[in-house]
Subunit: 413 residues, 2 copies
């Protein structure tokens, strides 16, 4: 069951940031051997009840863990005492066995913590459809429980990777009414990445003193603008989960979204989520280029996002860019294939500052050399104006290479 | 501008059928040098006015040629005197230059034939967004006009290929009220293939004596069940065109869809269109496997087609099958990512006769060995039951391989 060792993505950041300690939460990690010696389980335990919020996959074949978290958030009023996440098996499409694994895992945590079931949150990522031995994760929880506090959030970020080639971490510090407040997060994901959401798990912790409702509102809003604007292959996972936990150890108590003291926090959280989202694209399976696609002039922001996603998911666009080919005709194709209103004779396209198409045809001063040069860069910026309104959206993706075919032809077996 | 020579698809039929002559139509072919010495232009000329029908891309960035044909069918009442098709340049996204090329080409045909503009039909396939010299095709028409009758329909099928690795041809003969009636067709297309429709051009000729309205009704109905049920990469062309021409030389005159004499013809036409559609998938860029995906138990046939297409277009499913990996969890993912209603706990999946999932989890008698064996075949049959109703649909696709990345990273430059 050991997975092939992946080469680190050429788009990986130079180094992984060292995350600060968030007061009020402790971590432990362990291994069930799904990835050789590497850790593949983490648990989090909150010293006191933390505010919790979550955003989950909209897949109709979502995992039992996603069902569990949705229900727990509703039943428990958004209060967290503990978290258990395992990698190597997604616990999706596993029927009664999937529920049994969750029940055993939650029971173990409740007994150790002395909390209610709905205060424990779960996630699993990896192969779909292979039932887990129901007590496998629960037994690991009991085993690593005594080591709580020994693992850092960086260790957590390394413990739930699947085909990821580097751990993804980000943090910010903001000032709220004179108090220093920290936000730190880790995510995993590199394939099966597409709104809504990606094949991703994300855990963000803050010591801010926010109510569950405020956490949920901010997380939902910014997920739409960050994690839901990235795509690697247009495929959507059965396990996507992003959660935000506030340990309430620092800063003023805020229970009202319109509270001006929230502004700095919101800005910081959005920036952290954007950073983590782009890191996922940088680890896109087989990726050699990071591609930003900005669409403007659509009839609405939602329409712009559909058009941008159509470009971002087009295999023909992605293979051309892999070869540094400024094949902008394929962008025209990808704009045209959606059912969104556009004004064909007003469509213009740019690679960075280089305009390649204007008003429905090749730009008058088109230079193949200049366009090619813009596509040779490691980061490519595509802008498309579709002339139908004022809607705009930006999405991030990567190219489609031999590496993607290699990784996904050999992932499971 | 010469394109890389492609290796013949391993899924290509053993041989190309020799098409019968259809009385009442003559062909000529020529080359503008887009593919070295190979022909890249064909013209068709009808001895007497033929009934014409067409189905075209729904792309909002469709080519000037598609606009032309739609308008001509409407203005001319579905009567054809001539056809001109060129490969190597799609004449899409070319603004005024695109219209000028069409005007010049149509004018040349009208002068040679002595017919009205709306009796001439056009198509172009190839690179998007590069304006053609307006008289290039018109001059070629005049040059090859004297050789009309020298080219066969098989020659036509070879003259409009782009990245195709083999010519695609099919024919049937049916009996209508005691008379032999022939139907013969050629198509091109191997990438940018997705409903609706594929990057495909298709020309079907028959000597049947059908009215334009009957031709259009049959072509539209069967396109939905054949050419609109195939996908290579989920990308949709700006030039897709399928046309049916009836020279009216044989059999009873039919102007009424409910005429029982039409039955044999309709059956033959559907069978021919299905054969041609599957041939396109067999030439899918980089394809090594032909994959049939049948979805049943959806809330409607339309819903089943959306779910089947989601599976057929999933890069994760297609890369797994390229590696003969029976990774049915990815099929679960692809079912889940659509917004179509399914009953998760009732989903079952088969590879050929081998059931791999039943009622929302791995099949009780699941055998990895048997499933893998089914995926090692050159033709893979996937059946998915989603437990929500009586809707069903079948689509055809191919795997996603290194070959696809190679071809599309080097097609244009």
């Amino acid at each position: 069951m050991a997975k092939k060792q992946m080469t680190k993505s050429p788009l990986a950041p130079q180094s992984t940031p060292v995350l600060p300690k968030i007061e009020g939460v402790e971590f432990a990690v362990g291994s069930n051997g799904f990835y050789g010696d590497r850790n593949d389980v983490f648990i989090a335990r909150f010293a006191e009840p933390a505010s919790a919020a979550g955003v989950f996959t909209r897949s109709s074949t979502r995992s039992a863990d996603v069902d569990w978290c949705r229900q727990a958030l509703e039943n428990g009023g958004g209060i967290a005492h503990g978290v258990v996440v395992n990698a190597g098996n997604s616990n999706a499409f596993t029927g009664a066995a999937g529920i049994a694994k969750n029940d055993a895992t939650v029971a173990a945590m409740c007994e150790l913590i002395g909390c209610d079931e709905s205060n424990v949150f779960l996630a699993a990522t990896g192969v779909i459809g292979e039932p887990l031995e129901p007590n496998l994760v629960a037994n690991k929880v009991k085993e690593i429980w005594p080591s709580l506090g020994s693992a850092s959030l960086n260790d957590v970020g390394a413990a739930f990777m699947t085909t990821d080639t580097f751990p993804k971490a980000s943090h910010v510090q903001v000032n709220m009414d004179g108090a220093d407040v920290r936000i730190a997060g880790v995510v995993k994901g590199s394939g099966m990445i597409m709104p809504n959401m990606a094949t991703m798990l994300g855990y963000i912790f803050t010591d801010a003193n926010l109510s569950p409702a405020v956490c949920q509102a901010l997380l939902s809003r910014f997920t739409d603008e960050t994690f839901n604007c990235i795509t690697v292959d247009g495929d959507t996972s059965t396990s996507d989960t992003v959660m935000l936990f506030a340990t309430r150890k620092s800063g003023p108590y805020i229970d009202d979204l319109s509270d001006p003291q929230l502004e700095a926090f919101a800005t910081g959280l959005r920036s952290l989520m954007h950073d983590l989202a782009v890191q996922i694209v940088r680890d896109g399976e087989g990726a050699t280029k990071l591609i930003e696609i900005a669409v403007e002039g659509a009839v609405s922001d939602a329409s712009a996002k559909i058009i941008a996603s159509s470009i971002a998911n087009s295999p023909l666009v992605k293979t051309a860019l892999a070869a540094s080919d400024a094949n902008w005709g394929r962008i025209v194709m990808a704009v045209g294939k959606t059912d969104q209103p556009v004004e064909r004779e007003a469509i213009s396209i740019w690679f960075g500052d280089i305009q390649v198409a204007e008003n429905g045809m090749r730009a008058a001063n088109y230079s193949e050399e200049a366009a090619s040069k813009a596509c040779q860069a490691e980061e490519i910026f595509i802008r498309v104006s579709v002339g139908a309104g004022a809607g705009e959206a930006t999405v991030w993706t990567c190219d489609l290479t031999h590496g993607y075919v290699d990784i996904n032809g050999s992932y499971r077996t």
